[in-house]
C-alpha cells in the first residue's frame, strides 16, 4: 500500500479568533499553526495501514515554505516522505489547491508507480471548502467517499470498505482500489510524536514540486467575526454551596 496524505497548514485559534488588520487572514502571532484533526487522523491511519500491510506514506502539502513544519510533524508521526508545493503566502482557493495537489500527485506518480490510496481530511480546519479531496479524486478519476470513520482493506479483492455516519445510523461503501478517501476525526486515536520520530523528522530531507496555478471562481474579499450576543453570566455561587441555586435553575428550565 502506497498512500499519499494531503495535509494543510492552518492557524491555531484560542477562545476568540483574532484577525489581521486588513481582515484577510487569521492573526497567528500568538498561536502559531497546526494541521486539522481530521488530517491528523488521516496521517495516523496511513501509518497504521502501512505498518500492517507494508508500503509507504507520503505527506503532501500546498502552502508557504513554512508549511514544512506541518510536513515534519507528519513525519514525526511515522510518515516516510514529505513533499511541499510552494504556493507562496496567499491562501489559495479550493480549485487552485486541488489543481496544485493533482499536478503534484501526477508528478510523484510519473515514475510509473501509482498511489493505492489518497487520504484527505473531510474539510480543512480553516477554510472548510468541503471539496479539495473530491476535486483531486475527480481529476485523477478515482472513486471517493467522504466523512469516513472506518477503513477496512481487502487486499485480495482489491477493495476498501468505508464506514461513515449517516442520518440516524451508519453506512458502508465499497470501492475498488486505487481510491481516494476523506476521513473524519473519530476514525482512530492519533498518537503523539515520539522523541525518536521527532529527531528523524527534524533531519529528514523534504522534496519540493512545482506547479502552474490559475485562480478559480471563488474569491475571498475578507473575513469578519459575526456579532456575538453579549451575555451576562449569572453567578450561582462557589463550590458545593451552589448546589441549591443550580437545582433552582434546573427546575426553572424544566429539566427536573
Amino acid at each position: 500500500m502506497d498512500i499519499c496524505v494531503c495535509v494543510k497548514r492552518v492557524p491555531g485559534t484560542g477562545s476568540t479568533i483574532l484577525l489581521t488588520d486588513d481582515g484577510m487572514n487569521v492573526d497567528t502571532r500568538h498561536l502559531g499553526f497546526t494541521i486539522g484533526p481530521h488530517e491528523e487522523c488521516a496521517v495516523e491511519e496511513a501509518v497504521q495501514i502501512v505498518t500492517a500491510h507494508g508500503g509507504s506514506v507520503t505527506v503532501l502539502t500546498a502552502g508557504p515554505p513554512e508549511a514544512e513544519e506541518q510536513l515534519r510533524y507528519a513525519l514525526s508521526l511515522g510518515a516516510d516522505r514529505g513533499v511541499l508545493i510552494d504556493t507562496g503566502p496567499e491562501e489559495l482557493d479550493a480549485e487552485q489547491t486541488a489543481s496544485a495537489l493533482t499536478q503534484a500527485i501526477r508528478q510523484l506518480e510519473s515514475g510509473g508507480s501509482r498511489f493505492d490510496m489518497l487520504l484527505f481530511g473531510n474539510e480543512s480546519a480553516d477554510a472548510s471548502h468541503y471539496q479539495v479531496g473530491i476535486r483531486v479524486a475527480c481529476a485523477l478519476e478515482l472513486p471517493m467517499v467522504g466523512g469516513v470513520k472506518g477503513i477496512q482493506i481487502d487486499e485480495a479483492a482489491g477493495t476498501l470498505d468505508l464506514r461513515r455516519d449517516a442520518a440516524g445510523g451508519i453506512e458502508v461503501y465499497r470501492t475498488p482500489l486505487p481510491a481516494a478517501v476523506a476521513v473524519a476525526e473519530g476514525l482512530n486515536l492519533p498518537r503523539y510524536p515520539s522523541m525518536r520520530g521527532r529527531l528523524r523528522a527534524m533531519k529528514a530531507r523534504l522534496d519540493t514540486v512545482e506547479v502552474q496555478l490559475e485562480p478559480g471562481g471563488l474569491r475571498k474579499r475578507g473575513l469578519r467575526r459575526p456579532a456575538e450576543q453579549g451575555s451576562q453570566t449569572v453567578m450561582l455561587g462557589t463550590g458545593p454551596e451552589a448546589a441549591d441555586a443550580v437545582a433552582d435553575v434546573l427546575e426553572e428550565l424544566g429539566v427536573v
Binding site: S15, G146, D165, G169, I170, G186, G222, L223, R225, L250
Partner: protein, 337 residues
C-alpha cells in the same frame, strides 16, 4: 434567471434544509425562477409540497445506478444535468451529503463551489459575480466572497434563515422532466453495501440536557458524577476533544467543530475552557451552565449560569439537591444517605 434547488427527500418528504434551498433559489432568482432537482424513487411525490413552495419545474434524475446514493454517480448525473440546462445557479442544503454531492458535481462540471453560505446576493446585471458570505470554522468566522462562474454552485449553512417565497398560484400542475444521465459501464465509483440504524435511546444530538466534561474532569472515572446527573435528568454525556484524545470518552461523545454540534435546552460544561472549536458545538444551547475552577475561563464568561468550583465537589452536591427535590415533589421522602 433559473436557479436549481437540490431537494433531498425521504420517499417524497423534503428535508427542512431542502426547502431552505428552494427558498433561497426563489429569492436570488426572483419569482418563477426556482426549479427543483430530485433523485431516486418517490421524487414525483414531492410535487404538491414543491408547488406550494413556489417551484416552477421539477427535474427528476433517473437511472438504475441512482436508486441508492453514491457520491460519484449522483455527482456525475448532476453535472450532466447542469451541463444540459445551463442554469444561473444551483443551491443545496449544506448537509454532509449536500456538500459532497455539490462538490462532486462542481468538480465534474469544472465549476467553482461555495460551501456553507449564510447570505447570497445575486447582484445586479452589471456585475456577473454573486456576492456571498460563507461560514468558516462552523460559523465563528464569516468569509465575504465573490463567486464568478457561468453556473453558481453553492450550499447553505445549517440554520440559515430565509423568508419562504409566498406561494403564488398553487393550482397549476408542476411540470416534471425526467433526465437520464449517461453513466459509462466502467465508471469507478463507490456503492453502499450496508446500512444500519443506531440503537435507540437518548443521543448526544437530540438530548434535551447534555452534561459535558473536559480536561477538568481529569480521568475516565471522573465522568461518573456526570453520567449520574445525565441519567437523573434524562440527558446525555458529552465531552471536549481533550477528553476524547486522552481516551476518557469515545469520539461519538465529542461536542464541537470536529465532533457533534448540538442545541439542547441546557448544556452543562464541566471543566471545559471554551475554546472556539468547542464553543461552536454548544453555542446554540438555549442555556449554558459552566462549572469551572477558573472564573476567567471563556466558557464561564459566555455561559448563562456559572458555578466556580471543582467539578468533583460541585456535581455530587448538585445531584443530592436534585434527588432531594425529586423525592419531595413525588411525595416520597428523600432516601437516607
Amino acid at each position: 434567471m433559473t436557479v436549481l434547488a437540490i431537494v433531498e427527500h425521504d420517499g417524497g418528504v423534503p428535508t427542512a434544509g431542502s426547502l431552505q434551498a428552494v427558498a433561497v433559489a426563489a429569492q436570488v432568482g426572483g419569482t418563477g425562477s426556482a426549479e427543483a432537482v430530485a433523485f431516486g424513487p418517490g421524487a414525483e411525490l414531492l410535487r404538491p409540497r414543491l408547488v406550494t413552495a413556489g417551484v416552477a419545474r421539477l427535474h427528476v434524475l433517473e437511472h438504475d445506478l441512482l436508486d441508492d446514493y453514491s457520491p460519484e454517480t449522483w455527482g456525475e448525473s448532476l453535472a450532466q444535468l447542469v451541463g444540459q440546462l445551463r442554469p444561473d445557479g444551483v443551491v443545496a442544503a449544506g448537509t454532509d451529503r449536500g456538500n459532497e454531492l455539490m462538490a462532486q458535481a462542481a468538480a465534474r462540471a469544472g465549476l467553482p463551489f461555495a460551501a456553507n453560505c449564510v447570505a447570497v446576493d445575486g447582484g445586479t446585471g452589471t456585475s456577473p459575480a454573486w456576492q456571498l458570505t460563507r461560514a468558516r470554522v462552523g460559523g465563528l468566522l464569516y468569509e465575504d466572497a465573490d463567486l464568478t462562474a457561468s453556473v453558481k454552485m453553492l450550499s447553505l449553512a445549517a440554520g440559515v434563515e430565509v423568508a419562504t417565497a409566498p406561494s403564488a398560484a398553487d393550482s397549476h400542475e408542476l411540470p416534471v422532466e425526467v433526465f437520464t444521465p449517461e453513466l459509462p459501464a466502467d465508471f469507478a465509483y463507490s456503492r453502499v453495501v450496508e446500512r444500519a440504524g443506531h440503537t435507540t435511546g437518548v443521543t448526544l444530538a437530540t438530548a434535551p440536557v447534555v452534561v459535558s466534561g473536559g480536561r477538568g474532569v481529569a480521568s475516565a472515572e471522573g465522568f461518573a458524577p456526570l453520567e449520574e446527573l445525565a441519567e437523573l435528568v434524562g440527558g446525555a454525556v458529552g465531552c471536549s476533544r481533550v477528553a476524547t484524545n486522552n481516551g476518557w470518552r469515545p469520539h461519538s461523545d465529542q461536542v464541537g467543530q470536529t465532533g457533534t454540534r448540538i442545541a439542547p435546552d441546557l448544556y452543562i460544561a464541566c471543566g471545559i475552557s471554551g475554546a472556539t472549536q468547542h464553543w461552536v458545538g454548544c453555542m446554540n444551547a438555549k442555556a449554558i451552565l459552566a462549572i469551572n475552577t477558573d472564573p476567567e475561563a471563556p466558557m464561564v464568561t459566555r455561559a448563562t449560569y456559572a458555578v466556580i468550583g471543582d467539578v468533583q465537589d460541585v456535581l455530587p452536591a448538585v445531584i443530592a439537591a436534585v434527588r432531594r427535590r425529586a423525592g419531595a415533589s413525588t411525595g416520597r421522602r428523600p432516601a437516607l444517605t
